[in-house]
Every structure is written in structure tokens, then in C-alpha cells.
Amino acid sequence: MPNHETEIIKTESLWSILLTFLKVGAFTFGGGYAILPVIQQEIVVKRKWVSQTAFSDILIITQGMPGQLALNSAIQIGVRLRGTAGGLIAALGVTAPSVVILLAIAAYFYPLLRDNVYVQAVFYGLRPAVVALIAAAAIRMGREILYGWSGLILCALLLAVSIISGIHPILVLLLGGLAGLVVCRRQCSK
């Protein structure tokens, strides 16, 4: 990759990039931030593919852009090691275990077990548990993000807008971003 800002620390074979990210994809549970310590252990501590500082830079970019945290960090590490091919291989590695495991469940286990009364009992308990997880994620994010009145007011306003109008979440996100820009223009110019 013709990127002068990208410091290539080590050259690794595509094969070992693939194997490493297959492992990350296959052994990280819970998604989101749960995956990051595993990547850090595997890439920074064990294989020393990127330095701790480079890993922090990767995380900053990852958090500011769309996509999955594990996938985005994997692509960036792959690119640093072997350019575009490395990025593609890392993406393949981190995605493939999910696809294989979920296909097996969707095609074989779910239809087989769906009508079993104990499986129904498990899902009866899992549904409120998942809703609790989602609500907890919103509250945790709110605590981290909504410092100051402007964030809180914006959040409340957008909540009201999306309840009343039922517009698509993408529009709500864009509205929020634009409001952020407006708030900044007033405060940043002071």
C-alpha cells in the first residue's frame, strides 16, 4: 500500500495473518469491545506485529469510523503487515468463523431445536436478557458520552423526534451529527 504514514514494522506471510485472525474470530465471544483485549494479546503482546502506540492509533480510527470494531482493527493490522492483500486476508479470517458457525446453527440446529419445549424455555429467558443487555449498553454509552447539557438535551430531543415521527434511524443519526456540528460552530468560535 503506497501509504507513507503507515509504518510497516514486520512483514508476515498472508498465511499466518489468516490463521491469526481465524483464531481471533473463532475464540472471541460477546462482540464489540470484548474482542479488543483478545486482539491486543494476540497481535501486540504475543506476535509483536504492531506496537502498543500503533494499536492505540488503530483503535482511535476504528472508533471514529463505521463498521465492526474487530473487523476494522483486523483490516488495519492486515494493511500494516502486507498492504491491501493483508487487509483482505485479515477481514476474511475474522469473518469466516462467524459465517461457518452461524450457517451451521441457522441451517441445522435452529430448525431441529426450535420446537423443543426446553429450547423455547431458554429463549423465553434469553429475550428479556438480550433486552437488558441492549438497555444496559445504551445507559453505559450515555454515561460515557453525554457529558454536559448539550449532549443530554440533544439525546432527549432526538428520542422525542424518533418516537413521534418514526423516521429511519439513519436520519436520526445524521440529524444528531449535524446538530453536533452546529453546537460546535457556536462554541468553537468563542
Binding site: P66, I75, A106, G125, V131, G176
Partner: protein, 176 residues
Amino acid sequence: MTAILLSLYWSFLKVGLFTIGGGYAMIPLMEAEVIKVHGWLSPAEFLDIIAVAEMTPGPISINAATFIGYTMAGVTGSLIATLGVITPSLILLLLLSRILIKLIQKPGAASFLNGLRSALVALILLASYTLGQTAIIDLPTALIFAALLIASLLRHVSPLYFIAAGAAFGLILFPY
């Protein structure tokens, strides 16, 4: 068939493109696309799939995309949906990474993202409310929800414990 594959790809592309910060950010988007816009799944099926996606390794939205894609259009559907959800990351990081890195460093970008995150908190709260109407249907499910929510607010609990506890409570409290 082609029509459904195209709309699967387009829906999951949107989910991938507007999931900023990863993890649960995709829940409101996926809920809107899969339940409200296309009616591919019922809210209960959606919650079941998220639960399965939590139990299995790998990023949740890739797991969910594979499962939903398979439900709608078999193996091809699962591959197309997964490809859709990862396309934005691939394009942005492989082709546009230098532009993107410069863009993220601009002062406006931070305030845009701050505003966007406020919106995200509102959307995830709303999603938990709408999905909750399907999940919390009687006293036992209300208790499971309340207990797990309080536990998670008091201290950080791994999502896996939520899933294990939900499954165990479900087995015990289900009105057989």
C-alpha cells in the same frame, strides 16, 4: 430471488455503514431494516437471533447478518448479507483510509461524532423499549430483565453471563 438478494445486500450495507463505534450501535439500524422496513423477521425472532449471535464467537452484526441472510435466502443470502455488512469497512479502510484519517482529525469531525453518539444513545434506548414489548410479557420475564439490568448497572458484567443467566432463568421460570 435476485430482488431479495439485492435488498439483503443493500439493507446490510446500510447497517454496516451507519454502525459507528461497533457493538450495539447496529441494533436500531438492523431492527429498522429487518423488522420495520422489510418485515423479514418478527421482533421475537430478531431477539432470538441476537441471543444466538451473542452466544457464538465473532462480531455480533456479522453473526446476525449470516443468520438473517440464511433465513431469507439460504447460503447465498447469508454470504450476501455478510458481504453487505463488511463492505463499508473494506472500502473505507482499504481504499479511502488516507482521506478518512485526515477527515477524522478535523475539528468538525469530533463534534459531528459527538452529536451522532447522542443520537445513538437515544436510538438504542428506543430499540430496547420496542423490543422489550415482545420480550417482557409476564412477571418472570420482567424479573429477568430487571435483575440483569440492575446487575449490569452495579458492575461491569460480560454479555456471556447475561446469556447464561437468561437461559437458566428461562428454564426455571418458563410456564411449561
